[in-house]
Amino acid sequence: MYGFMGKMLFVDLSTGEFEDKVIPEEWYRDFLGGPALGARILYEYMPAHADVFGEDSMVGFVATPFDGSNFFCGGRYTVVSKSPVYNGWNDANSGGFFGPAIKKSGYDGIFVRGISPKPVYLFVDDGKAELRDATKYWGMQATELENALFTDLEDNKISYAFIGPAGENLSNMAAVMNDGHRAAGRGGTGAVMGSKKLKAVVCRGNQTFELADKAGMAKLSKAISESLKQAPMLQGMRTFGTTGGFMPSLLSGDAAVKNFSVALCETDKTPEDFEPLAAPMLNEKYKVKSYRCSSCPIGCGAFMDTTEDERFPVKNAARPEYESVGWFGSAIMNTDPVVLIKCNHLCNEYGTDTISTGGTLGWAFEAFNEGAITKEQLDGIEPFWGDGAAAVALTEKIVSGEGCGKILTQGSQYAADYWNAGKEFLFVASGIEIAQHDPRRAPGYIRTYQVDPTPGRHVKGGLAKANDRMTWEQKYDYRVTGYADLVEICTCEYINASGLCIFSPRLFPPGAIFEGMKYVTGIDFDKYTLRLFGMRAFIMRWAFNLREGLRRKDFTVTDRMIGNPPMRAGQLAGISLDNERLVENLYNAIGFNPEGVPCQDVLEFVGGLEPVIADLYPPKE
């Protein structure tokens, strides 16, 4: 089939066996790649109720049709597994170069089950797979591991996904990292790798696949190039990356102030106090060079250097993305850019998700300042608001899992339960920390945070995208939101499954993201088939949760997230959200019953969901 390698690699770490598996062609057509195809495969091959850290638990590294096609911004891959945080479906994607490398090594995806008796890494070299001893790499942080792999394999062109010490320690916030400091961060899949003693997956090769229409692809690439020259967002993204979103988000109430507890105007700080954390000043003082992912014409990443700072000198640090600036900045009232860069760097080196790490740090700051936890519980650290040294010290504890970090590395919900303290300060969905997008500012987020198959995510589809096009009054009108919610879900499911960067629709000419799919795979998307695809992908991911016995009631958000009580001042003063109404509206639009179970008609209408029908609606005797 055009656009794919046509086979998956299955590896059993318990037995050391490998299998090249050819999946049905319709699975590619129905689910494309990434999270959607990953969900279909795990639904087929991973038994229900498998212990997340047990032998039957699987972790997958799933490429996409655009990986390796050189389609602009189409180089992302997805990790899939059960999440140790909420015991349901998890997917998280990342850029860099690993997605195309999976395909160059000969496969559309790599799926691993079992547990190795000793640390290993998987080396997939031009169609040949091998498990190698990783004892010497166990315990290594990102930079040390990269240097060791490049040296030992005598090749600095390899691409690899890996875990840092956080994954080895089974931290709930352990990311699957790749290519140095790129991260498929959310949901704790790094811990699943750690439980399998799988330190890394290294890919290399020169395998290729055929495009459906090479000439069409070349023409489209030219058109996109021309269009990009006029795109107003291009220069901003190229210069500042997502970091450029920090100041507008801080001013609008999107970014957290004191762990989402107050408005900036209620504190002793002004917006100007936070400008040293904003992209222009970070670039001016610390930027060394830009960074771009595979086949990206933008290059929104950057490397920074703070080696002139005596307190926290760091070389080759990634410029913190927007989410990290919020969590390690205004959420804890830190205005010191070197502290921000250091905290972000610690996450990357130890391999933790910056959102969950920052969210847990923000919770700890508030719990301490409000007297819910003490410095004795924090190994003597006193995280008063704005204390940068305390932020770095606590982040080190969290990512390393040492001392109080043993508790905090499992996340804010775990810590609040463990100490039975500070539960009113939690800003979590089903126990996982939230990105720097306050749902009280864009209420569509609350539905996505609550009942996306992967709770707590800002990069999943939903009404929040449409909120950006609404007036203030329209945003908080909860009538008839289901259809708009579903439309945004479907587009986002397509973006994630095709391997595109989430910013591509804002940069490309209208329709280009679908035209590209036609030229790569021959699959033609129109509004109708996009709707079916999006529903199928969403339901497939959600079906994993249903099979685990999870229902709507098991997906929760905290009172603070819905404005109960509402904020007292600032842009979000007086706002409370009707999250349950938003969920009901979506369920009506997508054909779910109130418990979150899709009706049989919808499953049959969407198609490609036969095993889900068999599980939910078994034939009557």
């Binding site: 901003g236 507008p248 001013l251 993305e321 997008h437 910013f503």
Partner: protein, 82 residues
């Protein structure tokens, strides 16, 4: 009357830092946004641009709110990701 507009957005060219407009008495916030849309640097659809979060002198404001001489409008266009 003089109105200063500041832009905080990734989809507006970085060269456009802030702009002063001379608007007639009785103008409202939307009038200032209409003036912004005449700038060659702003190529965003009118509806989408007018859905931006706009602060007047640091506080929340609405399209039909009246402007006074010396007001500062901040146009905020947030983004997800990262």
């Amino acid at each position: 009357m003089d109105i200063l507009v500041k832009f905080y957005a990734v989809d507006i060219p970085v060269s456009l830092k802030s702009t002063k407009f001379d608007l007639p008495e009785g103008s409202v916030v939307e009038d200032a946004l209409d003036e912004c849309l005449k700038l060659p640097e702003i190529t965003i659809d009118e509806d989408y641009f007018k859905a931006s979060i706009v602060l007047k002198n640091g506080g929340r404001t609405h399209l039909k709110d009246a402007l006074s001489d010396g007001d500062v409008l901040s146009i905020l266009r947030t983004m997800e990701g990262g």
